[in-house]
Structure formats: structure tokens, C-alpha cells
Symmetry: C2
Subunit: 292 residues, 2 copies
């Protein structure tokens, strides 16, 4: 009876139609303890309180982004597929509400291989959920997670990514494309290396005319922490200092170019603009517009 | 083809179901000039830039709020009725998307009589748009705008409100109810005087169990200006210093009670929480929740 409005938000980048789609939100208990690795608990607590958030439990939203070029429909990251957390399973319903059909997706471009980004490629029974899509991945990410010798060089908590990589990409064999830094996904859309969060983590630069969007993936998770304090890195970053350096480079570029950004773990609708602020960045969420 | 998601957002206050509905958004050109009356242009410009907004044009969103108690449906402010600005006409579509029918509204509670709050009571032909609703108004507001002798005591730009008051409430004759400060709209819902923006401007305090919401009307327009700098008042405040005093009293109460607030001109979804910050307040927008 009392339904929430559907979790999608639409905007344009030049003539491209972009839709950010909410998968859902999980909660991180005690985010002041062991989450940020290079800041003490009091500093993290203070940043959380300063943003009006709760130091007892921090929301972790999940958002994917769809770009419709007129010729192709391109999905950035596949989400959880509802297989990681019962509260994070909204992509099918929210895509449908937005008039987007997984069967019509031409390309799924992946930022990195963490399970909340690739598990939605396939069902629990491991059937391809994007039946006609080509899957585009950063070549460096593919190389890391498909090389057995990297297992001991990977944080223990993330070693499951190797098996999940085999599992989720398996059904797409023969329609995988590896992209190097700067390579084109489709006209006007290029991969931008942003390594650190994972060894091959990459963002995507989407441009049309004089407008641009950076699909940032996990260059930063919640902006109140990792943009405001851009030096911070977290327990889920494979290489924290490198993640921070990539973050500063990419968001600095977006700030200087006045480009729009969308972050996978930013609060829905997850897109807006950034400005340099001290050593970090201020995130300015988009003004909700009824017109696309 | 590329439709925006509907502009409504639902949340609960105890067992009450609350839906904030976007009417649309207009633009104020040159908000640094003549808008804030008691701050110089440079200070206003700095506040706008600091919030990541544009000093060339400031969005002015319009949001109404519906409370469903299980027994009654209560609408707070009627919006523009699409009669003030062609871009601000979304209440019918957004209410419909939210499953809300104007014909089922039992009470329309009005914060004040500015045209963007009452014009939506009636159509362009002045037919009642809420056919079965009782209309609840602050007694002090009614007294001001229905007393001819107040015309010369009212800022010239606002004198049209007298005629629009007669016009918009006319079709509801016999089902108007005047409320004094503290009086009950419905069980758990009371008027709270917050004079200044207009002579009888009032908020509404909506409570159930241990949760509460303040429907703030125009106690503050954009939070980046008038909550951050709570002493400021604007060209649309009939009595600026009184508006500022009421604002500080009401938002101070909401901050101390950790009550939710919703502001008519806050950026959609227009609700969240406030914390005292220096001499003003920090507004913390709600975290978007897919569950109601």
C-alpha cells in the first residue's frame, strides 16, 4: 500500500540519457572501528558526526548507471544480483520502473571485480542476466583476478574474488572485451585507469558535446569520508595509498572540468559535482530535476 | 521516452505514512541582488558558492506533504495548481504516481497564504480541487489577509494575496476551520505559530509514538542560506526579523527533539534532520531508503 517511489534518477550528458539505478543499501556497524585504516577512531567519528551521519551504523548504498546513446544501452557495473544481502535486490524492479530491460543492454562495463559490482552479471544458478550484452572489463583487473599466482598477494578477505570472477564471467565467454587505460567502450566513452581500490579498478569517462560524466565506481565510497578526507583509505581497498592517489587524480580532474560524477556507493541519486576543498573535495549532490 | 522518476518520497513518522510530493522548481535569477535583505551581496554570494550552488541562478523547489493516518489523509499546503509557472505543475502527476487521489484528501492544512501555497486549492476556473476536504488555516493568517485595513500595512509586492485569499478559499466556504497556536488539526497533529514570513505563518507538528515531524512551510526557504545563516531574512518575508526569530525557535526545537523536518522550498526530497551549528543550523538530508 505505502510504496516508495522507484529508485532511479535520470539526467543528460549532452544528448546521452543517463539513468542511475539504486540496488539498495546495507549498513556498516561501528564504522569508526577498523574501517578507515589510516585515521584514528576519533577522527572518523568526528567526520561522521560532522556529516550528520551516525557513528553506530553507516549506510552503504549501491547504485549502477545506465547510459543510452541512442544506438546502444550501456550498463556500468552489474550490482549484486540480489545475492549478497536481502535488502539489496532492487535493480530488476528499479530498471523496469525506468523502462530499462536487461535483455536490451548492449554492453556491461565493469569498474572492478568486487562481488557487489559483478555478482549481478549472473543469477544464483549462474545464468547470464544480460543475454545479449558484451562485457567490457579493465584489462588490468582481468589480469589480476585470473592469475592464480596473485592469490597470496591479495588480502585474505578478498581472495574469494578469484573464484567469483571465474563464476560470474564464465557464462559470457566469447563476449568479453579487455580495455587498456584510455581505450574506447563506445564512441565518447573511455576507460580511465584508477587503480588501488583493486589492482585494476577503473572509472569511465562519458562525454557528449561539451558535457561529461565520470562513472567513478569505488574511487571513493561515501563522499563524507573519502572525498572530504581524500587521503583516507579503507579496509576494502587492496592498495590504500594507491586508491587515495587515484581518487585525488580522478576527482581533481572532474572538479577542474566541472564534469558530473556518479559514485557507486554515493547516497542515491548518487550523482552531482565536486569542488576542491582543502586537501579533499566537497561533493555537491545534483538538484533534483523533474525534467530530464 | 526518457521520463524522470516520479517526484515523491515516502517515510514514516511512527505509524503515520508521510509522502512529500514535488510540485516543481523555478529559478531565481541573480540571488545575490536584493533577495537577502540584511546581508551584503558578497556574503550571499559566498554562502551560495560555499554550498556549491550558482550565484547566477538559484533553484526554488516547491514541495507539499501528505500525511496518511490510517483514518484520514491530510495534505499540507496545496501548491501552485500549475497556475504560477509552467515548470511547476507536477502535483497531479506526482500524487497519482504515489497512489494519492485529491478526491480522497480529508483535510488541507495551510501554512500561509502566499500564492504558491494556496493557488492549488482551486483550478484556473476556481473550482475546488479537493472536493471533499476541510481546509484548516492559521487563524492569525486568516485574520490578516481578510482584513481590508491591513492592505496599506502589507508590502506592496504582496498585496495581491488579499484578492487571491478571497478567490482560492471562496469555493470552500462552510468547510474552513481556523486554528489558534497549539490547536489540533487531527489527533497528534497540531499547529505551531511561526509568524514573520507572513503575519500568521504557521508550521505543523506531526507526532506518533515517539517520532515527530515538523512541516515547516516557509520558516526557512533554501537551507543553505536561511538555516546556515538563520539571522538572514529575505525580500519575501513580510516581517524579516520576526521570520528569523520564528525560524530559530522552530528549528531549534526540531534539533533538540531530533525530529524530522520538511521544508516547502527545500531541495527534493525536502526532508531530513537539523543540527545546531554556530548561530544557525546544518540541514542533513534524509538518506534515501527504498523501504518506507
Amino acid at each position: 500500500m505505502a510504496e516508495q517511489s522507484p529508485g532511479f534518477y535520470r539526467y543528460k550528458v549532452g544528448s546521452l540519457v543517463v539513468t542511475t539505478v539504486l540496488d539498495g543499501s546495507s549498513a556498516r556497524a561501528n564504522p569508526t572501528q577498523g574501517f578507515v585504516l589510516n585515521a584514528d577512531s576519533a577522527a572518523v567519528r568526528s567526520a561522521i558526526l560532522d556529516a550528520g551521519l551516525s557513528p553506530a551504523s553507516l549506510d552503504n548504498p549501491y547504485n549502477v548507471t545506465v547510459v543510452q546513446t541512442g544506438r546502444q544501452t550501456i550498463l556500468f557495473d552489474a550490482g549484486t544480483g540480489g545475492q549478497l544481502n536481502p535488502a539489496v535486490n532492487r535493480i530488476p524492479a528499479n530498471m523496469a520502473a525506468a523502462g530499462l530491460d536487461p535483455a536490451q543492454v548492449d554492453i556491461v562495463a565493469i569498474t572492478h571485480f568486487h562481488p557487489d559490482h559483478i555478482s549481478g552479471l549472473t543469477s544464483a544458478a549462474n545464468a547470464a542476466l544480460f543475454p545479449k550484452a558484451e562485457i567490457v572489463v579493465p584489462a588490468a583487473e582481468w589480469a589480476w583476478w585470473t592469475t592464480e599466482g596473485n592469490v597470496p598477494r591479495t588480502p585474505e578477505a578478498q581472495r574469494g574474488v578469484f573464484a567469483n570472477t571465474r563464476r560470474r564471467f564464465g557464462p559470457y565467454a566469447g563476449r568479453l572485451r579487455m580495455l587498456a587505460d584510455g581505450a574506447e567502450v563506445a564512441p565518447g566513452i573511455r576507460l580511465v585507469a584508477a587503480h588501488g581500490h583493486t589492482p585494476g579498478h577503473s572509472a569511465y569517462h562519458v562525454t557528449d558535446g561539451n558535457q561529461a560524466l565520470y562513472v567513478m565506481g569505488d574511487c571513493s565510497s561515501r563522499p563524507e569520508l573519502f572525498l572530504r578526507y581524500a587521503d583516507w583509505y579503507s579496509v576494502v581497498d587492496v592498495d590504500g595509498p594507491m586508491a587515495s592517489a587515484s581518487r585525488k587524480r580522478l576527482f581533481g580532474r572532474a572538479a577542474d572540468e566541472r564534469a558530473r560524477v556518479v559514485g557507486f556507493h554515493f547516497p542515491f541519486p548518487a550523482n552531482g559535482y565536486v569542488a576542491r576543498d582543502g586537501g579533499g573535495f566537497r561533493f555537491v549532490p545534483t538538484e533534483w530535476s523533474s525534467a530530464v
